[in-house]
Amino acid sequence: MSEKVSPLRQPAAPASATTLVREVAGLIVAALNLDVAPADIDPDAPLYGEGLGLDSIDILEIALVVSKQYGVQLRADSEENERIFGSLRQLADYIAAHRTK
């Protein structure tokens, strides 16, 4: 069984990454009881402050659901921390790279 690779296929994010972005958006909306549809969160807008408007209480709650769902323990001393919450896509990328479940 050979996989056909279309020359027109976009080199951008593979389907699994897009799925994870949607899944994490759904987790955030459910955990924080936000009044937005997960699909309406701009994957590239900042999560913190302006943008989605989350604050540090939210970030702690997100860290909790992320640790439960994917086994990823976030650390503030990691230099990547600021980048991780830079956008939904960056958070999803970090989870994809570090998930243990």
Partner: protein, 430 residues
């Protein structure tokens, strides 16, 4: 790396030299050691530390009106507080052959001014003398079993600028000879890591939100010798779980910005809070007032308290106007004032949407209905962000045609909730 008292004394002498000639300091240092050095440096040079609950542009503007000579002591390279800035000097101060003596501070000296939001838009200052702050914290040490000769290490997840953090980390260490951990760990893995790294006996000063996150995260918890919680009551279940997982006592503290700490309890043993000696509660016109002991002046409490004895009471939640989100306190009246001061807002009101809309971790935010035909919701939120702490930004903010005022102009919370629920159900159309 432990920092010894001789280094602390050298550091505070150096910081006192760079604070300038004004009488007030906004101590914005995030590092708990540097905050403590700044506080001590302000004390020895006779300056008052100003501790507002938030640093929004509007609050800073009002702080300048309150104390025109205020400077901002900061350890952040990207500090954007609009005040004359004094950067915390980098590196430790050089030690001299003769160490600086431990300064003696007059108990009557005004040490700090903390602020509550009030209801008229102007923050209300509460003055704290050094002697009363110390008296309060020494009783805290008695209650926590930390007034003996053995020294412990204090790790705290709350900022030193918050009254609870100031008392239970910075002042507890200074007044009773304990060691202080400079870091303020945030994520569960950070809290566990920092706690494990400091010597025992060690205590964790925290809040229900952090403790709940710690337990639920699945992070391995290092042993601790005491856990302290404040800002909101813990559920009995969470309290029992904390004691079990850390295999130690959990004590809760109750107080307010105005009064400082006034009582404590061990929730797994009793729901009753026991007052600090000398502090009494009295009820006048349905309101509970606290006075005596270290309290500067009789103070109306913003919670519903039921006295069960001379020294004991039960806590039945906040009074209707109060907003308490993760230890950040405001009032609906203050938030409404800020909302209605936005150009283009014709009418607007904040309200409690109820616990049914709380987040997964149980944090219930406030919501708002706003009449502002010329503005969109994003613009209103943007304007609010300049004026109030982000914890109080409304979730949701609903633009409506008019508020459900009664014929006398009153605005029942229930009517606002019904309007908002109907609004959300109809998909946001008015």
């Amino acid at each position: 790396m432990p920092i010894l008292a001789t280094q602390f004394l050298a550091d505070l002498t150096r910081v006192a030299q760079v604070l300038g000639g004004g009488g007030h300091v906004l101590n914005a240092c995030a590092d708990r050691y540097q905050f403590t050095v700044g506080l001590a440096a302000s004390l020895v040079s006779g300056k008052v530390s100003l501790l507002p609950s938030t640093h929004t542009p509007e609050v800073i503007r009002q702080l300048t009106a309150f104390a025109p000579d205020v400077v901002c002591l900061t350890d952040a390279v990207d500090c954007d507080i609009d005040l004359p800035r004094v950067p915390f000097p980098g590196g430790g101060a050089a030690l001299t052959a003769n160490p600086a003596p431990v300064p003696a501070i007059d108990t009557a000296q005004l040490a700090a001014c903390v602020f509550t939001s009030g209801s008229t838009g102007t923050p209300v200052p509460h003055r704290k003398t050094w002697g009363r702050l110390l008296a309060c914290v020494r009783e805290e040490a008695n209650r926590l079993g930390l007034s003996g000769s053995s020294s412990c290490t204090i790790v705290a997840t709350v900022p030193p600028q918050h009254m609870y953090g100031l008392e239970s980390s910075v002042l507890l260490a200074l007044a009773c000879g304990h060691a202080l951990c400079a870091e303020r760990p945030f994520y569960p893995a950070d809290i566990a890591g920092v706690l494990a790294a400091v010597p025992r006996p060690r205590i964790l000063i925290s809040t229900p939100i952090h403790l709940r996150a710690l337990l639920e995260s699945g992070t391995a918890l290092p042993p601790a010798d005491l856990i302290v919680s404040s800002t909101a009551p813990l559920t009995a279940q969470l309290a029992a779980e904390v004691e079990q997982r850390f295999n130690t006592r959990l004590l809760e503290i109750y107080g307010s910005t105005e009064t400082g700490q006034i009582s404590a309890r061990r929730p797994t043993h009793t729901p009753e809070w026991r007052l600090w000696p000398g502090v009494t509660l009295s009820v006048r016109d349905g309101e509970t007032w606290a006075q005596g002991g270290h309290i500067e002046q009789p103070t109306r409490m913003c919670d519903v308290l039921e006295m069960t004895g001379e020294e004991t009471f039960l806590l039945h939640g906040r009074v209707a106007d109060l907003v308490n989100i993760a230890g950040k306190r405001s009032s609906l009246a203050y938030l409404n004032h800020q909302l209605n001061s936005i150009p283009g807002v014709l009418d607007g009101a904040f309200f409690h949407f109820g616990d049914s809309r709380a987040s997964h971790a149980g944090v219930a935010r406030v919501a708002a209905c706003v009449v502002a035909p010329q503005l969109d919701a994003a613009r209103v939120v943007q304007e609010l962000r300049r004026r109030i702490d982000p914890a109080f930004l409304p979730r949701p903010l609903l633009l409506v045609e008019r508020l459900p005022r009664t014929s006398t102009g009153k605005l029942p919370q229930e009517a606002l909730r019904s309007l908002a629920a109907a609004h959300l159900q109809s998909g946001g159309l008015p």
